[in-house]
């Protein structure tokens, strides 16, 4: 029987691909920002700049939370046609 999901899949066969690519690009963006933060924090912590370390930590934590949250929208693996 054809339901909404089946017809939508037929109308947009590339949907999974675009979603996947979008999510991976976002994840790479988050990780790059975190690496940048970490680099700055390492440099500044050597100078005892606690405030900077704390700010980047909070930012990094938020980005990590966002990365995990975005995994919710990972498309399910393709199911075999019944």
């Amino acid at each position: 029987m054809s339901d909404f999901r089946t017809s939508q899949n037929e109308a947009h066969p590339n949907k999974t691909n675009s979603l996947m690519t979008g999510i991976i690009v976002l994840l790479i963006l988050f990780v790059s920002i975190q690496i940048w933060f970490l680099f700055g924090a390492l440099n500044n912590a050597l100078q005892d700049n606690l405030y900077f370390a704390l700010t980047t930590f909070i930012g990094s934590l938020l980005l990590a939370a966002a990365s995990f949250w975005i995994l919710r929208y990972l498309p399910d693996p393709l199911k075999n046609k019944k």
């Binding site: 996947m20 991976i24 912590a45 606690l50 370390a53 930590f57 934590l61 990590a64 975005i70 199911k79």
Partner: protein, 176 residues
């Protein structure tokens, strides 16, 4: 494309089956889903590392050097030359003592602020040089004149008493 494996990709594939596939090709294959999950994990690890930096700077703040340390006699270091010495604290930190001009002494940490190479005083250039990547510091203030080092060299204060050279924590710097 007919699949022989009835579980392949199906929604009722048990997880042990997808974790230990019997086809070698599938065992080494990293799908985009796994890649995305791996990126998220990496992101979490980065956040944790950043947290470790905070914890480290909270629990082990760098202690200022206590008291005055005797280094050498004034006559041991000629004008324009430098002397390398260590101070034993919680860890050994190498320093250099520079006799800039008569009665002008400076003491800096010897570790370059770029990648901790040993710096040395070049009398011909009147600069402190880091040979690794050609960073130059001012021998007067320790500031970066040129090159990759991101921060000035940490400085100690030099005190001369009866022809003996002592160093102590630089108080002016700590007030800033």
């Amino acid at each position: 494309m007919a699949h022989k494996d009835p579980y392949d990709g199906g929604e009722n594939t048990p997880s042990w089956k997808s974790d230990f596939p019997f086809q070698a090709k599938k065992a080494t294959h990293v799908g985009r889903r796994e890649f995305a999950k791996f990126l998220a994990l990496f992101s979490g690890a980065l956040a944790l590392t950043n947290g470790a930096i905070v914890i480290k700077s909270l629990t082990f703040p760098t202690k200022p050097l206590e008291g005055e340390h005797f280094i050498c006699n004034e006559s041991d270091v000629a004008v324009g030359s430098m002397l390398q010495f260590d101070i034993q604290g919680s860890k050994v930190i190498p320093y250099i003592l520079i006799h800039l001009k008569a009665n002008e002494w400076r003491a800096f940490e010897q570790k370059c602020t770029h990648l901790t190479c040993a710096v040395r005083f070049r009398e011909d250039l009147q600069k402190i040089e880091c040979p690794c990547h050609h960073g130059f510091f001012s021998p007067d203030t320790g500031e970066v004149l040129q090159g990759p080092p991101p921060r000035p060299l940490p400085q100690l204060e030099v005190v001369i008493k009866d022809g003996k050279v002592f160093v102590k924590e630089n108080e002016q710097k700590n007030k800033v």
